[in-house]
């Protein structure tokens, strides 16, 4: 049996909006992946630690509070620092259009805004994990 794709769904910062993160976690699980959900109020350090401990292929970050420009790149930076840059990072939330190229440049491989079909997110993680 092929190894299951492992994904960490994480809520960085103080944002309490967890509807999207939970729906995505469930969609990935229904698509046959192993999903670990961090719960709320995780620091970038907590998230990176969990990603390494859980040996995940990818991390999905969700933030709707507007703090994504600080928190998302920090996760990527810390993963590099911990020599875990092979873990793919994607993000989603209430994110202004102008921020998307900046996040991509900072190493967030995909940014999913409101209305993104779940199928697109599943496809992204499947492809990303194969590449990893």
């Amino acid at each position: 049996m092929p190894k299951k794709i492992r994904v960490l769904i994480a809520k960085p910062g103080l944002d309490g909006h967890d509807r999207g993160a939970k729906v995505v976690a469930r969609a990935l699980r229904d698509a046959g992946m192993e999903v670990i959900y961090t719960g709320l109020r995780q620091s970038p350090e907590d998230i990176v630690e969990a990603a390494i401990q859980e040996d995940v292929d990818a991390v999905g970050l969700s933030c709707l509070s507007g703090a994504h420009m600080t928190l998302f790149p920090e996760v990527v930076r810390l993963l590099k620092k911990r020599k875990a840059a092979d873990i793919v990072v994607a993000g989603g939330g209430i994110i202004p259009e102008d921020d998307i190229p900046k996040l991509r440049k900072a190493g967030i491989q995909a940014v999913f805004g409101p209305g993104t079909p779940l199928a697109d997110i599943v496809r992204f993680f499947r492809t990303a994990a194969k590449g990893a």
Partner: protein, 559 residues
């Protein structure tokens, strides 16, 4: 009996219609789908008739407006007397930034203020706390000190305007700041009107901006009931909120049921404190979401009033009719806004706002079309406010009381929602009440299940969302950006530093020490909070004391 004969006659006619007129029509033109459902997946019948309301008397079920059970509205004249309060939720950046937005909204005709706080403030952290990194002013205003509160309401006459504050975990601290701010302006507390959200139960269930565990949090809430009823009698010390429950994914019936069940839990805690129900119940207020499904939403407001009136009178023994009234604020559904073709959100918001008005709300916020991207910019907010003004002054919806009352469909929906709410009340009871059910993740799981089902329906195209899964265009949306200024952040850090440097450190330490003792004991914490904020203790410092005494909540993990 004439009624029974009428009913038989109606039944016979309906059967005849089904077997002739309808049958022929269906044979020629089948319906668009096999089953029609509401936004909450509630099945909707083809046709509603007086048969759906059989045995349910007008007087008992509806009553006249301003009379028990208030299904048709809490005031006899509703909007013919006074329009609802147009209250736009606003807040971003520093107190200065938001003060400007408040004045802009007042200048454009809004009639009440509503404050959105940023994430650190919601969690009881100061702007300079390491936990607050990157979150300053992004989704609300940062208020860390009494001085911030004073800047926020600078030049605004708080003896005239009513102010709502969306704050929960540290609600009593922010309220203490508001009271101290008013006092410094020379405004008597007895003349202050407004609302603190202060609904901690729905934080554990849905909004997730909790600090302390449920029991000490409930004690703080009851402290505000007790203090408010004596010292700030026109203030709504709680806004029992379904809004966030719905936004997190609940159906209309779950929103209705969980909100009212929470409301009853607050009443129980108030009574357990030794308060008479009529002492505090008239200051309990509500806050509901208003989503896309026009009729279901109207029905929800009507069912809520009827259930609340009955429970307050018959279960809790309230004698003062003001205790029976479910007074509510409403907000259009943020979650219904789309990032795709964002201008269409103006249309969605209009339909939702009209439903809130037809549902008989006392106060309304309309969302701005750009909110799937950011905190709204000025013009988007103005359009949202104008939407309410058009409904109020042009649509005619405000000219008569409960214009939808008597619609077979609406009355049947109202009854159905009511029945479903009571089924949930029983289930909550089986868990041993609200707090045990929270600890077991009951509400959280129910809400997550509904959210996932809704998303799957969109995914499978069982549900059409215009511009998202149908009627799609390939275009770059035009949204004017709104950014929190770095200068606001630096000024806020400076102000905090100055406050800490210049305050009377002995008075500050003494106030915090007395607060700690009050938290450890069973005195009402409100007077100590007012003293602490006057002694220039910051929000974070005060909440740190409380965190030390009360501990912090950790939620059950599930998805």
């Amino acid at each position: 009996m004439a009624e029974a004969e009428d009913r038989k006659e109606l039944e016979a006619r309906l059967k005849r219609w089904e077997s002739t007129t309808l049958k022929e029509a269906l044979a020629a033109n089948p319906e668009r789908r096999e089953e029609f459902v509401t936004t909450s997946s509630r099945p909707v019948k083809r046709l509603y008739t007086p048969l759906d309301l059989e045995g349910k008397g007008y007087a008992d079920r509806l009553g006249h407006p301003g009379e028990f059970p208030f299904t048709r509205g809490i005031h006899p004249t509703m909007y013919r007397g006074r329009l609802w309060t147009m209250r736009m939720f606003a807040g971003y950046g520093s107190a200065e930034d938001t003060n400007k937005r408040f004045k802009y909204l007042i200048a454009h005709g809004e009639t009440g203020l509503s404050t959105a706080f940023d994430m650190p403030t919601l969690y009881g952290y100061d702007t300079d706390d390491p936990e607050a990194k990157g979150e300053f002013g992004t989704c609300g205003v940062a208020v860390s000190s009494l001085e911030d509160m004073q800047v926020l309401f600078d030049g605004i006459d708080v003896s005239k305007v009513s102010t709502s504050m969306t704050i929960n975990g540290p609600a009593s601290v922010l309220w203490a700041m508001y009271l101290a701010m008013a006092e410094a302006k020379g405004v008597r507390w007895s003349s202050l009107r407004g609302t603190i959200q202060n609904d901690i139960l729905k934080e554990y269930q849905a909004q997730k901006e909790w600090i302390f565990p449920p029991e000490p949090s409930m004690r703080l809430v009851v402290d505000t009931f007790e203090f408010g009823s004596k010292r700030v009698p026109q203030w709504n010390t709680i806004s029992i909120s379904g809004y966030h429950i719905r936004e997190a994914g609940a159906t209309a019936a779950q929103e209705l049921a969980f909100t009212l069940a929470n409301g009853m839990e607050y009443v129980r805690w108030g009574i357990d404190r030794g308060l008479r129900v009529d002492e505090f119940a008239p200051r309990l207020s509500f806050f509901f979401n208003v989503h896309n499904d026009f009729f279901e939403e109207i029905a929800k407001f009507r069912a809520a009033r009827r259930i609340w009136a009955r429970e307050m009178r018959d279960t809790f023994g309230a004698r003062d009719p003001r205790s029976w009234l479910l007074r509510t604020h409403a907000q259009t559904a943020g979650v219904s806004l789309t990032a795709q073709q964002p201008e269409m959100n103006i249309v969605r918001t209009t339909i939702q706002a009209l439903a809130a008005v037809l549902g008989g709300t006392q106060s309304l916020h309309t969302n701005s079309y750009d909110e799937a991207y950011q905190v709204p910019h000025e013009k988007a907010v103005r359009i949202a406010l104008r939407t309410q003004q058009i409904i109020a002054h042009e649509s005619g919806a405000a000219n008569t009381v409960d214009p939808m009352g008597g619609s077979y469909f609406l009355e049947a929906l109202t009854d159905e929602l009511e029945e479903e709410a009571y089924r949930y009340f029983d289930r909550i009871q089986e868990f041993g009440g609200i707090i045990p059910a929270i600890r077991k993740g009951f509400f959280q799981q129910e809400i997550a299940n509904s959210a996932y089902r809704y998303q799957k329906e969109i995914e499978d195209r069982e549900r059409t969302i215009v511009g998202v899964n149908d009627f799609v265009v390939d275009e770059q949306p035009e949204v004017e950006p709104l950014r929190v200024q770095e200068a606001s952040f630096r000024a806020q850090l400076e102000r905090l530093k100055r406050i800490r440097r210049e305050r009377d450190s002995k008075r500050h330490a003494r106030a915090l020490d007395r607060l700690r003792k009050a938290c450890e004991g069973d005195e009402n914490t409100m007077p100590f909070l007012v003293d602490a904020v006057k002694a220039q203790a910051t929000l974070g410092e005060i909440c740190d004391v409380m965190r030390e005494v009360f501990g912090v909540w950790e939620e059950p993990l599930l998805y």
